[in-house]
């Protein structure tokens, strides 16, 4: 299907890091059911490094692919670096998204940020 790049379709068909972390150090959920997109990110953090990340997404193909790519981009990275993740980086890593789907990459950025904020709050 030419609607999406091969990269998007690959991450949509075989999403990386799908699931839940029961004892997560940070959890972030963004979006809402009314708009048709919900993303939830779970982070396991040790020594300020993201050791594990999992996601759950209710949404379209590009929402699922954006979640998957975002988790890949931050896994193993220091928290300070993960904080710098932008929606542009997510979209570029997916070889681009259709214009009306760019909000999916924004949502992925916001979900990561929300999970990191939750982690920092828990840290005090």
């Amino acid at each position: 299907m030419a609607l999406y790049s091969e990269k998007v379709m690959d991450h949509f068909r075989n999403p990386r890091n799908v699931g839940v972390i029961e004892d997560a150090d940070g959890v972030g959920e963004v979006g809402n059911a009314k708009c048709g997109d919900i993303m939830k990110m779970y982070l396991k953090i040790e020594d300020d490094v993201i050791r594990d990340v999992k996601f759950e997404t209710f949404g379209c193909g590009s929402a699922i692919a954006s979640s998957s790519m975002a988790t890949e981009l931050i896994k193993g990275k220091p928290v300070s670096e993960a904080m710098q993740l932008t929606n542009k980086a997510v979209a570029e890593a997916l070889d681009g998204l259709p214009a009306h789907k760019l909000h999916c990459s924004v949502l992925a950025e916001e979900a990561i940020r929300a999970a990191l904020d939750d982690y920092k709050k828990k840290q005090g």
Binding site: F12, E29, K34, I38, F55, F58, G59, C60, G61
Partner: protein
């Protein structure tokens, strides 16, 4: 397995329609307005097609005007009736909340031009009530426009009853019959229809051609100015190959309704019964008053576009009323009109099946949808919230 299950979007062309089109391209290439033999041969083919189409819906040839398709026919029908109304000082139009956008957007424009529009509810079952049409008619009502069958949920409207109401109250009645012509038996005379729109590619004809029936005495307003084609109601050299092809497709589809409908109905109901086994789903639209090929469900906890993409991977072509499939922000206005909440309207699936679909193909559809829905629910936070009791199920 490859299954095309999007017949309501467009149908593959019938062999008879392709043959008729090619033959007309080769033989009736003349301009139907030219006086020499080649032109007159095109004219003859054109008029024969007009007669054949008219007879399928119980009209006379002069009452058929060819258009570029259903949207143009809807625009022209509504504009014409509105103009007639305006001249008589009647500027109120009645329609329903779940019409096609060709109707709704035309009505929106007319509202900006000073008309008032009443959109009737279509209730949970997706059917407008004739008595509510009757109650909505005012002194200044010039037109009632209600679709014959809905394009998304396939529900068939009480056209005969509405037609009777309109005729007795002296109000023009238009029906967008794009999904019904060639699929249901229609008689414009018996059903008191004044204006009817149809599109060829929904019954196995080519795209880009359709027709508007206007009862004798209902004056049409031309949308396209130019030559005197279509008795001055639609300028532009007639697309004879497409028109001839449309007639061939309509003759064949209308004459096969009796033969194919029972099988298609049985396959539709088999599909509905199979999909109903999926937990937390709902059939959209009345279960029996619906087109023989239409199945439309909402599945809680998933989103329609991802469902369609994964079905496509399995060789299944289908559609959804999800916002994401259209590029719009809102889910289908049809699903909202029958009272579906946004949360579940995003998770809709429309399967519109072939008249000759096999039971094996239906079972493959059921199995595929079951697996894909279960897979997507497996990592949906919305689904997790519901099964864990954090949120209430809607369906």
């Amino acid at each position: 397995m490859k299954i095309y299950a999007d017949y309501a979007a467009t149908a593959p062309m019938r062999r008879a329609a392709i043959d008729a089109m090619v033959s007309a391209m080769e033989n009736q290439y003349g301009n139907a307005s030219s006086l020499y033999a080649i032109g007159q041969s095109a004219k003859e083919a054109l008029e024969q097609a007009r007669g054949e189409i008219a007879s399928v819906i119980g009209a006379s040839a002069k009452e058929i005007t060819f258009t570029s398709g259903g949207s143009e026919a809807d625009n022209q029908a509504i504009r014409s009736a509105a103009l007639l109304g305006k001249k008589a000082g009647k500027m109120h139009i009645i329609s329903t909340a779940f019409e096609h956008h060709a109707v709704l957007h035309t009505l929106k424009k007319l509202e900006r031009e000073g008309f008032s529009v009443t959109l009737l509810p279509v209730h949970e079952n997706g059917i407008v009530r004739a008595e509510e049409v009757a109650a909505a008619i005012r002194e200044d009502t010039c037109l009632v426009t209600v679709m014959y069958a809905n394009n998304e949920i396939g529900t068939i409207q009480p056209i005969r009853e509405i037609g009777a109401v309109c005729r007795s109250r002296g109000v023009l009645f238009h029906t967008d019959a794009v999904q019904a012509v060639g699929h249901l038996p229609i008689s414009v005379a018996d059903e008191n229809i004044d204006l009817l729109s149809a599109s060829a590619h929904k019954f196995g004809g080519p795209k880009g051609i359709g027709f508007l029936y206007a009862r004798k005495g209902v004056r049409l307003e031309s949308l396209i100015e130019g030559g005197a084609q279509e008795r001055g109601k639609r300028a532009g050299t007639e697309n004879v190959p497409a028109i001839v092809s449309m007639a061939a497709a309509l003759k064949e589809s209308a004459s096969s309704i009796g033969k194919t409908a029972p099988h298609q109905l049985a396959m539709r109901d088999r599909l509905i019964a199979g999909l109903r086994e999926i937990p937390h789903c709902a059939l959209n639209g009345d279960a029996s008053q619906r087109l023989p090929g239409n199945v439309n469900f909402c599945f809680e906890g998933i989103e329609g576009e991802s469902l369609l993409l994964l079905l496509d991977d399995r060789g299944i072509s289908a559609s959804s009323g999800s916002a994401c499939t259209s590029g719009a922000l809102e889910p289908s206005h049809v699903l909202l009109a029958i009272g579906r909440k946004h949360d579940v309207a995003h998770g809709s699936l429309r399967l519109t099946i072939a008249p000759d679909i096999t039971p094996e193909e239906v079972d493959y559809l059921i199995q595929s949808v079951k697996e894909v829905v279960e897979y997507l629910r497996g990592f949906s936070p919305m689904w997790r919230d519901r099964i864990s009791g954090k949120a209430e199920f809607i369906l």
